[in-house]
């Protein structure tokens, strides 16, 4: 069964149709790329899955449950976690604290237990999880640095670490390679594969074709809010309509 199924999703803003009857399905363990020329609706699709937009029509099924119109935090509790474009982090907080916030769902406790220190076990568990995630993402050496002091590559890794701390089943990545040099891109691709092999399904929106082609098993191409083509990187690369959309649009 598909882990994520987007079924006939339409999203309109006023009179503008950003997504028109989009359907696709993502199997567990997949790395799925969502690409398309500028204005194709990738970003809207992404935000709709993540729970930041409510679709006008259609369903978004996650493990069989319809999550269309659900809030971002409720989605996180189900196991759908997103990352952000650029470097959206808690800039003034330390690397460790950033990831600790990511552990929110497992460390949650009431006001009184937090006040009385009765949440100590949960805190300790969250701290252990934080240390694990930092180790996994290769950030253990930077745990006490402020997020804003990190180089770009590490900031992106930290953004993923924050998301991973929430133990997602499905990780939605918004342009993880934007602005990276080839070396950083290579490193990030490695990290993404590593995250996948730890059992997380990944959907990513990306402009960097080289990274998408190298990383994803399966690609969905959007154009003018509709699905233009789907298939393996090789199929998509040789699809006439895709070539036309990219060349004609450019």
């Amino acid at each position: 069964m598909a882990l994520l199924e987007v079924r006939n999703v339409t999203k309109q803003f006023g009179g503008l149709t950003a997504l028109n009857d989009v359907s696709f399905a993502v199997k567990p363990g997949e790395i799925r790329g969502l690409i398309g020329p500028n204005g194709a609706g990738k970003s809207t699709m992404f935000k709709t899955i993540a729970g930041f937009y409510t679709p006008t029509r259609g369903d978004i099924l996650f493990s069989g449950t319809n999550i269309a119109g659900s809030t971002a935090y409720a989605n996180a509790a189900r196991g759908v976690v997103r990352t952000f474009q650029e470097t959206t982090l808690f800039q003034e907080m330390s690397v460790f604290e950033n990831v600790l916030v990511g552990c929110h769902l497992r460390a949650r406790s009431g006001v009184f237990s937090a006040l009385l220190g009765m949440d100590r076990d949960k805190r300790r568990e969250a701290e252990t999880r934080t240390a694990e995630v930092l180790e996994f993402m290769g950030l253990a050496g930077r745990r006490d640095q402020l997020a804003k002091e990190l180089p770009l590559g590490s900031q992106r890794a930290l953004a993923i670490a924050v998301a991973l701390a929430a133990t997602p089943k499905l990780l939605l990545m918004d342009e993880p390679f934007a602005g990276m040099n080839p070396e950083e891109t290579e490193h990030m691709m490695g990290l993404t594969r590593k995250v996948r092999s730890s059992g997380v399904t990944i959907v990513l929106v990306e402009h960097d074709m080289r990274a998408v082609m190298g990383l994803c098993e399966y690609i969905t191409v959007l154009n003018f809010g509709s699905v233009l083509a789907q298939g393996t990187p090789a199929e998509v690369r040789n699809n006439d309509r895709v070539i036309e959309a990219y060349l004609g649009g450019a």
Partner: protein, 342 residues
């Protein structure tokens, strides 16, 4: 760290000082100390709210709600003052909880203006409804608490020194709770919401709930402060909790510095003591405060508590040491809306 080692002895010294203080003071100075303690609680609770990044203009009105609530419960419903005071605080918290539904659909300026509107509406209702709020004159002859200790007889809480100690204890406990809360996981989440609400939301934080939680808890302590206030001075009226009072709170918080727990406390203590020293200039007070506020915006972006760090950085700079390398001295200027938990 060095500072942590010094923390406990200096807290003990402060406690001893606070306990010994009233005996060296004149009557009106004892009065002043009681109101100062009350305002310390108000500004500290305000900071909890500011931790989530929202600045409210309803805080002092909720302090008033605590005062009115407690006074009415004690006078009309015949509650013991000991019970009325926490109930007054709960009234303030309850109003905050109700307000959080409309107010937290907004943020930033909209929240600011919305909270202002809500506060004015509440305050006007006190002016308008003579029953039970007493209209513009408010409530008078509010009873003071009663306690009889075996062997000592009744404690005269209507006198400043006993009431000072009562206030000291309640405010001390409240500050301890606020401090713990801020340094708990809940404080971490509140701070995270301030920095990047969407990111916090994406990892499962219900930001509305935490904003509302900060608001309700802050209002509880503001209400408690209001109750402490009215059972000493014996009155509660709309003018005590007007916009000017709210602006004073804002000034204390900002001038003291919102980035540290101690900041607002330093602000209210320094400015109030200065004010007390220049009592004859009472009518110039708002003007002086206005100038101080503007000056702080320009020259003290971290507030008074950021001052030592800035001076250190400046001295280090003069000695030719790169401030950045010393780490601690590199006190990066935080903008006003940037409380950090420390």
């Amino acid at each position: 760290m060095k500072a942590a080692k010094l923390a406990i002895p200096s807290l003990v010294a402060l406690a001893v000082f606070m306990v010994a203080l009233p005996f060296g003071l004149k009557l009106h100075q004892q009065d002043f100390m009681i109101s100062l303690l009350v305002w310390v609680l108000v500004v500290s609770s305000y900071r909890l709210m500011a931790l989530t990044g929202e600045y409210s203009l309803v805080h002092v009105v909720l302090m008033g709600a605590g005062a009115y609530g407690s006074a009415l419960l004690a006078k009309l419903a015949g509650f013991s003052v000991w019970l009325a005071m926490p109930c007054g605080a709960l009234v303030a918290a309850g109003i905050a909880a109700l307000l959080s539904f409309p107010l937290f659909r907004m943020s930033g300026f909209y929240f600011l203006i919305g909270s202002f509107a809500a506060g004015e509406a509440i305050r006007l209702s006190w002016t308008y409804f003579t029953v039970p709020f007493g209209g513009p004159k408010g409530i008078k002859l509010i009873p003071s608490p009663e306690l009889t200790l075996p062997g000592l007889g009744p404690i005269p809480f209507f006198e400043p020194i006993p009431y000072y100690y009562l206030t000291l204890i309640i405010v001390g406990i409240s500050l301890f709770i606020l401090y713990r809360l801020e340094n708990s996981r809940i404080g971490l989440i509140m701070n995270a919401i301030h920095w990047r609400a969407p990111l916090a939301e994406s990892v499962g934080v219900d930001t509305w709930r935490y904003r509302a939680l900060a608001f309700v808890i802050a209002s509880f302590f503001a209400g408690l402060a209001g109750a402490l206030f009215c059972h000493y001075y014996g009155t509660a009226n709309p003018a005590q909790f007007d916009v000017a009072a709210m602006v004073y709170v804002l000034i204390w918080v900002i001038v003291g510095g919102v980035s540290r727990f101690a900041g607002p406390i330093v602000g209210v203590v320094v400015l109030s003591v200065l004010n007390e020293l220049f009592r004859e200039a009472e009518q110039w007070r708002p003007l002086i405060y206005g100038c101080i506020l503007i000056a702080a915006m320009f020259y003290l972006p971290d507030g008074l508590v950021g001052l030592p760090g800035r001076i250190r950085a400046w001295l280090d700079g003069r000695r030719g040491v790169a401030a950045a390398e010393t780490g601690e001295a590199a006190e990066e200027p935080a903008d006003l809306a940037s409380p950090r938990r420390r």
